[in-house]
Symmetry: C2
Subunit: 101 residues, 2 copies
DNA sequence: TTGACATGCAACCTTTCAGTTGCATATAAT
DNA sequence: ATTATATGCAACTGAAAGGTTGCATGTCAA
């Protein structure tokens, strides 16, 4: 869980995820195209995403293909965010009242 | 957005949030009770949460009261996670098929 | 079989992060 | 008035994060 949050905490990694989201099965080289930094840096980011279970890989010859795994995102959404987001409706007005006391 | 993700990326901060979640309006001292580290550390964490908009504060005399603001969590859920979580249903079986090719 | 391409591994550097300690300030209680 | 309580601010430290460079390895193509 901590691993997933940490993996998502970096802008570059979220961009990489967005690029995979756009088209599943891209190689490392393809994913490097958008990046403003080196292949090794992208590779490290992908490793972190993979360790967190957010990305799944598959070798095809000398190419490493990258696929998104939405399960961890879904899990965080279910187990953690929902708890807080549920307060969304009533919280703001209640908060205002409290603060005005 | 980046600020919110970064704020959530730390276990201690999520624990602090959980404690506020349990009862809104706790003081800094109260929030320190659960923590395994110094008041200053907790204070720093709260500042980061506050900067990210996740926590709202209110002074009452010499005491600083802390309230949860679920809006940013909700926003992340809506604007970012939903996009990925939506794939949840079909993704796994599709992924398996792809990988078996 | 030689050369080009796709990737991995490891050492290194700089910046950020999480936490500490020490001191200052403001409010409450005696 | 004095003391205790609640908090803030700033400097410091060790560890982790994000990135780089250089070299090694495995696979495809000519």
């Amino acid at each position: 869980m901590d691993q997933i949050f940490k993996a998502l905490a970096n802008q570059s990694r979220r961009e990489v995820m967005d690029k995979i989201f756009a088209r599943d099965g891209q190689t490392l080289s393809e994913l490097c195209e958008i990046a403003s930094f080196s292949r090794q840096a992208v590779s490290k980011h992908l490793q972190i995403l993979e360790d967190a279970g957010l990305v799944v890989t598959h070798w095809s010859g000398r190419e490493k293909l990258h696929y998104l795994n939405p399960a961890p995102v879904h899990e965080i959404s279910e187990r953690w965010l929902k708890k807080y987001a549920r307060r969304q409706m009533t919280a703001i007005s209640a908060l205002k009242e409290t603060l005005e006391k």
